[in-house]
């Protein structure tokens, strides 16, 4: 595990919009590394799973031996954030699809819930934990949260559906803050990382 002063944020780099997250975290002042192997994972204080295709990435996690290490680290308190695909991968289950997941977040997600690509949209979203200014949320073939378990807090909704949730050290967003240039969600996640770090480092 990393012992340097600044927390090291890992971005899962098997597939998806990896570099957009790397740039956003670099702007926000974090040290960022790309994670492709269990050895990479061992060096980070937090893990972000970017946007991409969930069916692809869940298979690649398994093929390259990352499924169990990610589960163990998150269970031990490592902060985790999934954007869109990343939230689907983290969910307990996927509505109407027998799709395997990592089960890090006690929610049921529905894939492509806001429609196919022609329905993808930019939406000024109210997110009270980020302040009064609406967040420029980019939804691309986006999922919504259909069920939340006990201990899951819904931080934002679109059309009455949960699109940003948190359960202790696990954050999920249906949308893509990494595509916007507005780094408030990245800052919020870095706050979770800093808060978790002493406990994780002594574990």
């Amino acid at each position: 595990m990393a012992r340097s002063e600044a927390p090291v944020v890992g971005v899962l780099a098997l597939q998806g919009d990896v570099v957009e997250h790397v740039r956003a975290f670099a702007r926000a002042g974090a040290t960022v590394v790309e994670v492709r192997t269990p050895a990479d994972l061992a060096r980070v204080d937090a893990l972000v799973v970017p946007g991409g295709e969930s069916t692809t990435v869940i298979r690649l996690l398994d093929r390259f031996g990352l499924t169990q290490p990610v589960r163990s680290r998150v269970a031990a308190g490592m902060p985790f954030w999934g954007t869109c695909m990343g939230m689907i991968v983290a969910a307990h289950d996927v509505a109407e699809l027998a799709q395997p997941t990592l089960d890090l977040l006690d929610v049921t997600v529905r894939r492509n819930a806001f429609g196919r690509q022609v329905d993808s949209a930019e939406v000024p979203l109210a997110i009270p934990v980020l302040g009064a200014e609406p967040f420029p949320a980019v939804f691309i073939r986006a999922p919504w949260i259909e069920r939340t378990g006990p201990g899951v807090e819904t931080l934002a909704r679109r059309d009455g559906r949960g699109v940003m949730v948190r359960q202790r050290n696990v954050l999920g967003t249906s949308f893509h803050p990494e595509l916007t240039g507005d780094d408030r969600v990245h800052d919020y996640f870095l706050g979770m990382v800093r808060a978790a770090r002493p406990a994780a480092a002594s574990a």
């Binding site: 597939q15 295709e53 022609v118 949209a121 939406v123 691309i140």
Partner: protein, 300 residues
Amino acid sequence: MNGQSQTGTDTVKRGLAQMLKGGVIMDVVTPEQAKIAEEAGAVAVMALERIPADIRADGGVARMSHPALIERIMQAVSIPVMAKVRIGHIGEARQLQALGVDYIDESEVLTPADDMYHLEKAPFTVPFVCGARDLGEALRRIAEGAAMIRSKGEAGSGNIVEAVRHMRAIRDGIATLAAVPREELVARARDLGAPLELVRDVATNHKLPVVLFCAGGVSTPADAALMMELGAEGIFVGSGIFKSTGPAAFARAIVDATTHWQDADVVLRAHTSIPEDAKAMPGLDIRQLHESQLLATRGN
């Protein structure tokens, strides 16, 4: 309360291509093939009646596929589904947008409907991908509204040489713009036949403003790794999967090689995982093709 939502913006159209980065998009002609592709880890499929190798062999006019076939493929998989229209064919493009496909490929693989002009793609809500042989061609397509670019290569040939040529040409064009003094950019834009604002954007950012994939000739895991090395952000495999004699094995191996292209051990293991008796698609020597048999020269 949330504000008004906006569909069809550059951000959401280019954004879907950003989500596909590092992945493999596979040509499929049936829902069963689409499922094999999804199972192997494809990030999207291209729904077609005939793959390029067969279009090439059959000759005649190649048009948009039957919408019922595309729709069955859309119902079979949860990953994005793309489909092709003829260059300049607004009638086919409007049909595919109405059908709700996730991306339209305005493609030289089909017989062009317009031998002078490509579609004005910006007004569509659905995003478009287009082929390019060099930087000027890529920037002209982006100026028309393409939200993703792929090198053209030579579709259905099983020969990587044209894809390499086109990817190098695009990359060299970008490197040149990044290196020359600013006062040269107006003349460079004139020589490229591309809008000055896009030329300035490339000179500043050292990359295209949209995602760049490779297409046209990938048929082995090593081909995919080669194209990623040359700067592709992902791979289209047309005939290379289902013209091989072991589609599931080739599909999975090409996905693994694309994900871990920097790690030769993984690419080697991916190739080794393909049974020895499963053959890659047959290839064509581009130099022995007649000018009229080349697909990449369609569109400009």
